[in-house]
């Protein structure tokens, strides 16, 4: 960094508000779509694993291995197939989301008290209705804990995508490095933390709404 250069140049920030807006929108798309797809896949998969126990260990092993794959490596492999589209980032992040969510769905369903399940059976609930109206609602707090972890880590992981050209606010890190200029890097870090905190808070509120019986 050149001598006498301040950490943050506010005039640069003021003149790039529009860029921040565009990058933020792209960043949210890249980090939240995987949560949506992850939930759509993890809930049925978790239900199957909770129903047939033998299915769970192999699924858990695959989830653990997936978690160990560096995001950059997955982006690169996909770049061949999906090119410079959002899918190159969305698909790997969906896989990470799955590796966090599936265990939580299974744990959530497994901690439904046996008495509760039997009460539902005695009341004449069909298995499907019992799942949707009794078991899944009881599992919501555990599932939401996973959704919160996945959302926060996705919001921070998306920025790595900038190295292959699709990274939302991560572009500010690349620009800052190329220009040897701290202001965009600083702005990017602050915006990403702000987004993570905001969405984590929103998810806490959503959980209160979904499970009013847990509120104190």
């Amino acid at each position: 960094m050149p001598e006498g250069e301040p950490l943050v140049r506010w005039d640069w920030i003021a003149s790039h508000i529009e860029l921040f807006g565009d990058l933020t929108v792209e960043h949210l798309k890249l980090s939240l779509l995987p949560i949506l797809f992850g939930l759509l896949i993890a809930v049925p998969l978790g239900v199957l694993c909770a129903r047939w126990g033998w299915l769970y260990p192999p699924v858990l092993t695959i989830a653990n291995i997936l978690y160990a794959v560096p995001s950059l490596a997955l982006f690169l492999v996909l770049l061949d197939f999906t090119g410079l589209t959002i899918w190159t980032v969305v698909i790997p992040l969906t896989l990470y989301t799955l590796s966090v969510l599936v265990p939580n769905v299974v744990d959530g369903l497994r901690q439904v008290p046996e008495q509760t399940r039997q009460a539902a059976v005695a009341m004449g609930y069909t298995p499907l209705r019992r799942l949707v109206a009794v078991e899944l609602p009881i599992a919501v707090p555990v599932i939401m804990a996973g959704v919160r972890v996945a959302t926060v880590s996705n919001i921070s992981l998306v920025s790595v995508g900038a190295l292959i050209g699709i990274g939302g606010l991560g572009r500010l890190f690349k620009d800052g490095f190329d220009l040897q200029f701290t202001t965009p890097v600083f702005a990017g870090i602050v915006l990403i933390i702000a987004l993570a905190v905001l969405f984590d808070f929103a998810l806490v509120l959503l959980q209160r709404l979904l499970t009013p019986w847990t509120a104190r």
Binding site: A68, V69, L72, T182, I189
Partner: protein, 221 residues
Amino acid sequence: MNAGWEWITDPANWHGSDGIPVRLAEHVGYTLLVLLVALAIGLPLGLFIAHAGQRAAFAVINTANGARALPTLGLLVLIFLLSTGSDVAALIPLVILAIPPILVNAYEGIRQVEPQVRDAARGMGMTGRQVLFRVELPIAVPLILLGARTAAVQVVATATVAAYINLGGLGGYIMDGILLREYGEAVGGSVLVVLLAVSVQGLFTLFTHLVTPRGLRKEHA
């Protein structure tokens, strides 16, 4: 994928100062260093807050969870620019990444020790220190190691990004591959990182099994 395999099996890539053995050793070295520093900070802090008041624990745990939101790439670039390129500085974001799982699991591990067990130890006349080292810590070992495993895997995977600021390691192949559009090299480097991460995971599982006190091992169902 095939290009990656060809690159890995090409003997030319196994020699010299940027050959696979050298880069692999760098990668493992960084990971160990980061993990040791993170353990030295996260473990005592986790044990401490498990015994401190509820409010202090709540604050530290939330801060640790909040730290997961920090974008590693951004921190790396910022610290690199501010420190004018020191290698050690580049490891700071990785340490920050590794502390939360270690800290939170150490805390949870101690918290889940049943009060009766703790009382029994006190009743036998153990001092506070003996309770911690002879009772609580051994019971918490599986969870603590799970935290260390999560941290280790994350560091192995994320250290690749550190190559962006020329830290070396296996990530260097990925970065060079991207820059020079040498797909084989990039994919080959990625495969090596995955193999390393999976081996680290396996080693930890084995190690956990070995150091878990016999009384705690679950009968295999």
